[in-house]
Amino acid sequence: MEDLKRLLVLFRNALAFSFAWLVLCVALVSLFGDGNLTAQFLLKVFALCAWGSVSFVFSFFTNFMKKKGFIFCLTVFFLLFIPVEVLMFYFMGIFVGVGTPAMWMLLGGLIAISYVGCILIDVFVMRRRAKEYTAKLMEYKTHTLTKP
């Protein structure tokens, strides 16, 4: 019960944060663009933020997922969120126009780079540190715990 309450609070915070930022961005774009901003469009943005927040909270904050490690959580988050994000962007008409292929590639590229970056950090930095941490713990156990 306590855990569910904590997750709901996290969901509320994530939704408020993401929706506020996106509304600001959309308002700025519309201000310097054609000046059109419909309630229907904002509802779609809200739905996207809500799904993003659900995916985020599920992937990174549930007890089950936390035990799986960061890369696993990130992969699950991407799998849950990206297909919906792409679909929503399509329905919202964000990537419609002359620059469409380039914009889609930019989006894909950003996601791929951040994902690959995380995997590289995990493989080259965290695995090395894990060995160091484990060795230190074993040393601690030998000197402090097992032998008085």
Partner: protein
């Protein structure tokens, strides 16, 4: 260190430490001996058990109830988490999050995460997350920092 065993009392076991002065090592030896056979009471399936402290993998508080985890069994303790924390040896049992105390002696490996949490794999392959709030204290304890 010289160890001698004498059979000169009627019942039980009496351990005395003789030394020139009390050092950190002597205190550690005293702590080790006094906690050698310490147990915690826990219930499982309506039965009360005296669980050897050395068998405990970790202790978790869920909805104001305290659970003791050993490899293969879960017991409900009659004490609160903070009471057990005070009772247990702080060098062996480490508070790793708001609701969990882990037995460092039962950790098989540690894995730091990008998020600054540390994942601890226990002897029974269960994973415990050491939250970033407590990770610094663990690093200090095992000598990784400072």
């Amino acid at each position: 260190m010289k160890v001698t065993v004498k059979k000169d009392i009627e019942s039980g076991t009496l351990v005395e430490i003789h030394c020139k002065e009390v050092t950190v090592e002597t205190e550690r030896l005293q702590r080790y001996i006094s906690r050698f056979d310490e147990r915690i009471t826990g219930t499982s399936n309506g039965q009360t058990h005296n669980i050897e402290i050395s068998r405990i993998l970790y202790i978790e508080s869920v909805d104001k109830k305290t659970f003791l985890y050993t490899s293969g069994s879960v017991y409900q303790a009659d004490k609160r988490l903070y009471e057990l924390e005070e009772l247990l040896d702080e060098k062996t049992f480490f508070r790793c999050s708001k609701s969990v105390i882990v037995n460092l002696d039962k950790i098989k490996s540690l894995r730091p995460e990008v998020t600054r949490n540390i994942r601890a794999t226990m002897e029974n392959d269960e994973v415990i997350v050491i939250s970033r709030r407590y990770a610094a204290a663990l690093k200090k304890l095992i000598g990784l920092e400072g």
